[in-house]
């Protein structure tokens, strides 16, 4: 059976890179006594796949890993068992036994369908953006001006080449406080699956683990994410700083991921990965 685990990654764990997070969870599942499915051969390894790897330095409320299990106890118990072996900075908030694909259907991984993600980007305390942008209001005004532009062109550098890219269409929403952000999500989302706690799934309501800073300079944004189009929040902040003629300091910003979505083709709405049935 395939199980989707949702977890939060925060605090000092933001310094643990993606490959190490994978190793960490492999060992954690063993500690929790999960009946994992293994690949065959002399170096058997657990069957697991992560959605949209998180970069070092970022925190998140919505990391997903799909795992293969031979058997499972009650979802609530399974969730408790894994949280009992987590170290500070990892907290599992969902355990969901996915529906098997019907025989004629292709078994797609939700991970390959990731199309969008929400982020909260905050200025860390101790950093000054510029003399003219010191308060939340000043930041909001500057950012709205920036977002109002027809095109936002950045110079995207890869190892081999540099290309000019218009990132404006990849930013699908911005917002400056939590209420406003949640409000704007409402019409945008589709739920294929309710968070009922039953014999197939168990979800915890855990509060966001985003760090809170006194300066209150922050922006919520929804960005294209995944294999088709991918925009990192850092690039948006860099473009914003360039626009305002402020030097971009990558260490000054804390990026926190709030949710990952796939896009429903018929309704063109977004579905959070924990609202999918499989």
């Amino acid at each position: 059976m395939k199980v989707r685990i949702k977890f939060q990654k925060f605090g000092a764990m933001k310094f643990i890179g993606h490959l190490d997070v994978m190793r960490y969870f492999q060992k954690a599942f063993r500690r929790a006594g999960y009946d994992s499915e293994y690949t065959k051969g002399f170096n058997p390894h657990q069957i697991m796949s992560f959605a949209a790897p998180l970069g070092v330095g970022l925190t998140s409320d919505c990391e997903y890993v799909d795992i293969g299990l031979n058997s499972s106890e009650e979802p609530e118990l399974m969730l408790k068992r894994i949280n009992a072996v987590m170290s500070e900075g990892f907290y599992v908030t969902g355990y969901h036994i996915l529906k098997e694909a019907a025989e004629h259907e292709k078994n797609v991984t939700a991970m390959s369908l990731v199309s969008s993600a929400d982020y909260l980007v905050s200025l860390k305390d101790g950093y000054l953006l510029s003399d003219s942008i010191r308060t939340n209001d000043e930041f909001k005004e500057a950012f709205e001006d920036f977002y109002a532009k027809q095109d936002i062109i950045i110079n995207k550098k890869t190892k081999k080449s540099e290309t000019l890219v218009n990132i404006k269409p990849m930013i699908t929403m911005i917002s400056f406080d939590e209420m406003e952000y949640l409000e704007s999500l409402k019409d945008n989302l589709l739920e294929l699956f309710k968070h009922d706690n039953n014999d197939r799934s168990y979800f915890l309501n855990s509060e966001s683990k985003a760090d809170i800073y006194e300066n209150n300079i922050k922006v919520y944004m929804q960005l294209d994410t995944g294999s088709v189009a991918n925009l990192k929040p850092e690039l948006v902040m860099e473009a914003f700083c360039n626009e305002n003629k402020v030097p971009f300091n990558p260490y000054a910003w804390q990026v926190h991921r709030l949710e990952i979505y796939t896009r429903d083709e018929t309704s063109d709405k977004l579905i959070a990965l924990d609202r999918l049935e499989r």
């Binding site: 000092a12 643990i16 492999q26 060992k27 954690a28 170096n43 070092v56 170290s87």
Partner: protein, 653 residues
Amino acid sequence: MRKLALSDEILLSVEKPARYIGGEVNMRVKDPRDVDIRFCMCFPDLYEIGMSHLGIQILYDILNRREDTYCERVYSPWVDLDKLMREKNIPLFALESQDAVKNFDFLGITLQYEMCYTNILQILELSQIPIYAKDRTEDDPIVIGGGPCSYNPEPIAEFFDFFYIGEGETAYNEFLDLYKECKNFGRSKREFLELVSQIEGIYVPAFYDVNYNEDGTIKSFEKNYKEAPDRVKKQVEMKLSEAYYPTKPLVPFIKATQDRVVLEIQRGCIRGCRFCQAGMIYRPNRERDIEYLKKCAYKMLNSTGHEEISLSSLSSSDYSQLQELVYFLIDEFGSKGVNISLPSLRIDAFSLDVMGKVQDIRKSSLTFAPEAGSQRLRDVINKGLTEDAILKGAAEAFQSGWNRVKLYFMIGLPTETEEDIEGIAVLSDKIARVYYEIPKDKRQGKVSIVASSSFFVPKPFTPFQWCRMDSPEEFLQKQRLLRSKINEQLNRKSIKFNWHEAELSELEGVLARGDRKLSRVIYDAYKSGCIYDSWSEHFKYDKWLKAFEENDISISFYNSRERHEDEIFPWDIIDAGVSKSFLLREYRRAKSGAVTPNCRELCVGCGAKQFGGGVCYEVGEILDKPAIANHDVGNDDLIISTDANSHVLGGMQ
């Protein structure tokens, strides 16, 4: 939430920030305000290496069992962070609480190899603790050393307040109790050191003055505190199956060198290889009870989630219940995706069967450690391993499907001749010939033989402690000779030859058998930028040479001199259990090429019997069984493994 000592900006700008944040699985969490003693345990090398060390895990566990003590850890910051900490004047901190080390009661440093000595000074300096013990105040932590290099602590004696000689299980609690009492009574550090010197196994170097002869050798040790012991006796844990074993070892986030459960099946070694320090200082050989080990294996795999378990000992094949243990591990955990890794096994039907079960033969290689190229020289070093046995073992393994062989040799062993060196090339070739005797349709492609040679470094408390060591020039000359001999062999294209750096071995030799005069050299080398010497990319030979020169200290005095039989050694202050007269007897036997039986065959009175247990008390019983007594156990000591053998010397990479 735990607060980190370093800012995000620093952590995100250095390599692998996970080295500095702590918070690992099974990390012990205590409130520092609730304890009387704060102890910081240090492995003076990179985090990934230090986290792989079993000894630290054992001590971490023992100390944290005490409610009045919080034991935390620190490792050497890598060069990138080192630079930033100096620039920003950030004091070195412990991983658990992230508090500055300088505010701890103790800083305990494990001394695993000589080439970490400059890293010790880095730890002290970054901690903002005065480097020389004499410069420290009542407010500075008490700096302790322990581990194999503490058996000759003299080159670094001036940097330490005291050394703990022997295994940590025994006297730690005693001196911590004493410390707590002293702290409660407001006693000074000096008073504490005086009292602690009365505990067996503790060496306070400041209580001894060293007098030298005109030729630079030691004339005498003179006590300046009359109550200090004449000699410091190593401490041994005799009840290994009752001793603490860390069943909840720490699990790092980043991949450590040992990313597995390590099960220590025994301590000490019954073989008396004359070059091997571990084989002498860890005597007597003591086995852990098999039922105890099975329980530990369960608990450790459960508490860590590791996918691999490895047996640790100097010579696993000598563990009397090895077969039962290995088959238990395979049956119990093999089906649960746990790999079983078995270093240092003698090759026989059992090991081939096991290897076939636990490893992919195509990917693994067979490791032999003949150490020397000729039978004559193998007898000199008491490495009871015959050519016949190597070739037979290789043939059996080749027939079972292996086609890769690793061979470990040492160059520069005492009495070595050109024929012995040529023997390395000839033996490598003979192994290849054995492979090609297998019919073509039955073998798996070409054979690959990797012959690695390290340079022999004489160590204290071995029969070769009197020997001269070759100079780098001699080593290189011998290496060239070996290379040309390999090129003369029929199967030269199947033989790959690896070697170590001669300069690093030279320095290791000086520090291994050095005296107190070297502390100035180590200090100056460190101050001129030497650090991470065991990492070849950071080893600065020229700076070391300059430090020797400026202090008017000659390397050849330590390395190129055959020592007199009655010379007083810097490490004579330590009583390691094996007697100097035994070592000397062994040295003389070595020179005449006489092989000495192992502990199970015959007790040769090394001195370890005084500890009252272990193999010393099973000998009589075994000798009564003629089948075993007549069997030449010492001559089939083949080693089959995928890991480096414990005798391999040199750098850490």
